[in-house]
Amino acid sequence: MAYVAVKGGERAIDAAHAWLAAARRGDGAIVELQTAQIREQLGRAVDRVMAEGSLYDPELAALAIKQSQGDLIEAGFLLRAFRTTLPRLAATLPLDTATMRLTRRISAIFKDLPGGQVLGPTYDYTHRLLDFALLENAPVAPAPQAEAIAGPTPRVADILGHEGLLEADARSEDEPFDLTRAPLAFPAGRDARLQGLARGDEGFLLGLGYSTQRGYGNNHPFVGELRAGEVDVEIVPAELGFAVCIGTVTLTECQMVNQFAGSKTEPAQFTRGYGLAFGHADRRAMAMALVDRALRAEELGEARTAPAQDPQFVLSTCDNVEATGFVEHLKLPHYVDFQSELETIRRLRATAERTQAASLPEAAP
């Protein structure tokens, strides 16, 4: 049943929105929040909104968070809506994460990897105790510094790859599927799946990734590498014909390494799941990598038994903007729909009662 538009209620709606604006501002005696404060001090929320809004622009994400009173799904929705007002200028050359200026880079499988294990600004190893000093806005000491690490920091995948123990990337330069331009169709290629996962809801991806660990399509994952840092963005403008850098983005990349027994044509080797996320987003990148690997079940000849291995289920439901739209539209007026259902039910009951009444005398002894 479709939603049928209603008329009226304009004055109430205007008043509701005016109240919303006042509620958003909160107590006028408290200093108003600046978007720059959100961008600088609520960076993980900004990263999440950019990822789920599928638009890298920290300032706009901060604005969306302010406008939505910190409702991050609503904020992502605002970014998605905004992006539809802009023309597409170009597509970048594929980002080269091997050249990332690293703020973080760890591996759970290689202790002594070239370039070292760099923790970066992480919540790992914190005690998860509330820090009451933050209530007082105490000054913060500058981060310690040490002599910069010399030498390259190759991706772990490239190190293991040399021995052939790890499945290699199938490099190509094919034009990737773009789900902002074409509707998703199944079976979906890995390009379409990665794009869908990259903007999928973090909580949903986390739950699905977790489900694979709990036995629903287990593939025994290890974090081969998790790296975060800044990557140059390059495009080839039509007017120039050569690549130019237009800026940088901060990304988190996860290489998940998984067991694979091999097949008739492939020797036993590790397979991989891949996650790439805007900003500093360990959890999102790891969950994406788990689900990416799970979605490769068919390609790798594994039995498809669990939700996380079903591309149509995962990709059709992981987008929280679509999900919230369809779930939340249920609260809009459905009076006409409901009226028709009501009449159907009344008719069914009336028919049943008539049939019962007609059959009763004969049934009596």
């Binding site: 599928s54 638009l55 890298y56 622009d57 300032e59 992006r83 802009l86 023309p87 597409r88 200028l89 170009a90 597509a91 050359l93 594929p94 980002l95 994460t97 091997a98 200026r101 703020t103 973080r104 202790k111 070292g116 294990q117 760099v118 923790l119 970066g120 981060a143 310690p144 510094q145 002599e147 910069a148 690490i149 991706r155 995948a157 990337d169 199938a170 490099r171 330069e173 034009e175 990737p176 599927f177 773009d178 902002t180 890995r190 390009d191 794009q195 990259a198 140059d232 495009i235 130019v244 850098c245 237009i246 800026g247 940088t248 983005v249 990349e253 991989r272 891949y274 790439l276 805007f278």
Partner: protein, 137 residues
């Protein structure tokens, strides 16, 4: 062009204040803000996929000497794109190149290098040497 695009807009504007004046110009296109689709590679080195978009602003100008300059810069800052395009045109002028390079590009390069170095030093301070207790395989 990369240096100009990656510059902190405030810094670029400050350097332009002290640099030799740029020639007058007419805008040929923009400044226009739009989207650039960021692409990654599956597995980091495989087939390209669309990761998500970013905002970007582009501008093209022709300056009084007839030179044409182009710029595309990440973000929505029209003044940044216009300044980068004007510099792109002026830097093609052999009579201006050296002075503009010294007052703008070199300074941007220095501050970018410092920024990267500071990040690398902070990262190095969090470098950890794990050692396993059970077996040293």
């Amino acid at each position: 062009m990369g240096l100009l695009a990656r510059a902190v807009p405030g810094e670029l504007a400050a350097h332009l204040e002290t640099a030799p004046a740029l020639p007058d110009f007419v805008v040929l296109r923009g400044p226009q803000t739009g989207l650039v689709m960021l692409r990654g590679r599956a597995g980091g080195g495989g087939a390209p996929f669309n990761l998500g978009e970013m905002t970007a602003t582009r501008a093209s100008v022709r300056d009084a000497t007839g030179r044409i300059g182009h710029a595309t810069v990440a973000g929505r800052d029209a003044a940044h794109a216009l300044a980068a395009a004007r510099l792109d045109a002026a830097l093609q002028d052999p009579a201006r190149h050296a002075a503009l390079k010294a007052t703008v590009l070199d300074r941007l390069a220095v501050s970018e290098t410092q920024r990267h170095a500071a990040g690398a030093r902070r990262a190095a301070a969090t470098r950890v040497d794990f050692f396993t207790l059970a077996t040293q395989r």
